[in-house]
């Protein structure tokens, strides 16, 4: 698997985009798990559109429950995909208020999709469990997620 570096929002390595034959994946980084989840969400929206083009016009509180940290990550991302698909909402900032292995509470900031200002890059349809990995090393946390597009 070849890895392409992708720097976003001037942060030092918020995430990388990685290849997967028929689909696309991301590796997100974070000093802690909250930042990891936030960067994974940002990586998702960077696949969908140019995140710089998203203004903060609305906010959305989310609460996700799951049975473990890895599943929680997939379900968090799937919730955001759902909100884009069903409600056409794009986000680019995520404040993770609380995070345990079983529950995440976050406020997401963004706006409704506007075809005159937002260009859709990829129609992301699901976060998968395929090759799902959450690891910790000396620099912090990393998570790998493959998306079905």
């Amino acid at each position: 698997m070849k890895i392409t570096c992708y720097q976003a929002r001037k942060m030092d390595k918020a995430f990388k985009i990685i290849d997967h034959t028929a689909d696309v994946g991301v590796i997100a980084f974070g000093a802690d798990v909250k930042q990891l989840f936030s960067n994974a969400a940002l990586a998702l929206f960077s696949l969908i559109t140019d995140t710089e083009s998203i203004a903060e016009k609305l906010q959305r509180d989310l609460k996700i429950n799951s049975d473990g940290r890895d599943n929680l990550l997939v379900e968090w991302l799937n919730e955001l995909i759902y909100l884009f698909d069903a409600e056409q909402t794009l986000f680019n900032r995520f404040e993770i208020e609380s995070l345990s292995h079983k529950q995440l509470k976050a406020t997401c900031y963004g706006e409704k999709f506007d075809p005159s200002r937002h260009k859709i890059k990829t129609g992301v349809k699901a976060a998968t469990y395929h090759m799902l990995k959450v690891d910790k090393n000396n620099d912090g946390y990393m998570a790998q997620v493959i998306f079905d597009v």
Binding site: M1, D19, N78, D85, A86, K119, V149
Partner: protein, 485 residues
């Protein structure tokens, strides 16, 4: 990551076996349809490991199959076929895929290339406007929640009932364009909300609508039954599925199945293979939900076919009947079907998972529509947008060997990222235009991901299934114009 180093036993020039002894836990061997040359690229990824992993699933019979267009998927490979005994086998959402009932529909016309080529730009523009992509745009049909529920139960008939198409279209659609047993009560609120605005839309990714020209006819007698009679004849090919709705159904049920699998004591080598016994509540629930998504997809292709006919009518000033725009067939290539098959003289009811694989029933089979009783079921194999597509028919050999299944397309050779790095969407578009192929796409940069170079040559894929005898080549067509979401 290094390539797959496992053992393959050559059976003949087109068949290779992964012995059951390759991994402890395999219940059947793997069987791969490929040439030696294709195997080289197949081995570069972990695809064959996935073929071996599928062989772990309870109740699997015969082989874990891989078609020549196989590539790396999630859990199940794309281009895989696995049949499970309904008495003791499992159903797996991963064996169907996220895009439930992704499939292909083919229309024929009376038009000739000479009449269409001068108007192709106008035609493609008209199609692009008339067939909603649903990506950042609303669909053309607005369904209420109640209508959405009816649509899930009825499938293609819902569209026909609303004046989009005819009874004859349903006759030449796999299973009549409907899987029975669809239960909207098994669909989450989220799936309904994703599905409602996307009903009757084409979508993005590898989905398309293509205006094609017949280039070669290999079996004139069979082709004429399909209404394909001459070189230069114009066809319309539609490739789409169940959009965000199917994805949500898959996501919802994968979660349920993962928990269920461990409860039923099913040991899985990969969590994306999550499954439950076919007869269990979770299994039945998934089948009822899968049917809803499959029906939604058939309704999509039914609507889009109607708008394609309307677009042709407008551009050529004749009604669809005068233009001879009859449907040849409609197949699904991401589905699980309960079917009867004979194994060792025994009649068995099986749940056949076809993930990136097409049903290929022979002449005389009761599942084949009246029109094709003598020829066998049409099999539609789309290639990439720069090369060609094939029309084939199912065979008795497919019935005996692969539970009536064959390949589904070209199969990817380059990842989306690799294609984007080596190609630019604008260049791909220009190159196609230079070759006389008009293209209109919602996103130009994404065209690079779908370029010819990103796919295996579909001709090699079809040659293998033809030589192996699991389908018979009938005709080949090349693109004249393409719309993509």
């Amino acid at each position: 990551m290094t390539g797959w180093q496992g053992q393959l036993i050559k059976i003949d020039d087109y068949r290779w076996q992964i012995p059951q002894s390759y991994k402890l836990g395999m219940k059947v061997p793997g069987l791969i349809y490929a040439s030696e040359a294709m195997l080289k690229s197949i081995r570069e990824e972990q695809t064959l490991e996935q073929v071996a992993n599928v062989a772990f699933l309870p109740g699997i019979v015969g082989y874990s199959f891989a078609m020549p267009d196989i590539h790396w998927g999630y859990g199940f490979p794309i281009g895989g076929v696995a049949a499970m005994d309904i008495e003791n086998g499992v159903i797996s959402p991963g064996g169907v895929g996220y895009d439930i009932n992704c499939g292909v529909r083919l229309l024929r016309t009376n038009l000739h290339e000479a009449e269409v080529r001068p108007k192709i730009k106008q035609l493609i523009n008209e199609l692009f406007v008339n067939v909603p992509s649903g990506l950042g745009s609303e669909g053309k049909i607005k369904v209420s929640r109640k209508e959405m529920e009816q649509l899930m139960v009825e499938g293609a008939r819902w569209a026909v009932r609303h004046g989009l198409g005819s009874e004859e279209d349903l006759d030449v659609t796999e299973g009549g364009g409907c899987i029975k047993g669809a239960n909207p009560g098994k669909i989450s609120d989220k799936a309904v909300k994703r599905g409602m605005p996307q009903a009757g839309t084409l979508g993005s990714g590898n989905h398309f609508l293509e205006v094609q020209v017949v280039k070669e006819i290999f079996e004139p007698n069979i082709a004429s039954v399909m209404g394909i009679t001459e070189i230069g004849q114009v066809l319309v090919l539609i490739h789409t599925g169940s959009r965000g709705f199917g994805h949500q159904v898959c996501t919802d049920h994968l979660r349920v199945m993962e928990e269920a699998a461990s409860r039923y004591g099913i040991k899985l080598p990969d969590r994306q293979l999550a499954c439950a016994p076919i007869g269990s509540q979770e299994g039945k629930d998934y089948l009822a939900a899968m049917a809803c998504a499959a029906n939604y997809a058939w309704n999509n292709r039914q609507c889009i076919a109607h708008w394609a006919r309307e677009s042709f009518s407008k551009v050529f000033g004749k009604n669809p009947e005068e233009l001879g725009m009859r449907q040849v067939y409609d197949v699904c290539h991401n589905i699980a079907k309960i079917e009867e098959h004979t194994i060792g003289g025994r009649q068995l009811k099986l749940c056949v998972h076809r993930k990136g694989a097409t049903r290929a029933f022979p002449a005389g089979h009761k599942g084949v529509p009246e029109r094709y009783k003598e020829t066998g079921q049409p099999v539609l194999i789309p290639g990439d947008m720069g090369r060609c597509s094939f029309i084939a028919v199912g065979t008795q050999k497919a019935m005996e060997e692969t539970f009536g299944s064959t390949c589904h397309g070209a199969g990817r050779a380059l990842s989306r990222g690799a294609a984007k790095r080596s190609l630019r969407g604008r260049d791909v578009m220009r190159e196609l235009e230079e070759r006389g192929i008009t293209i209109k796409a919602g996103s130009i940069p994404s065209l690079a991901e779908e370029a010819s170079q990103a796919y295996k040559d579909v001709t090699q894929v079809i040659d293998i299934v033809h030589e192996a005898g699991i389908s018979k080549k009938v005709a080949m067509a090349v693109p004249l114009g393409v719309i993509k979401g």
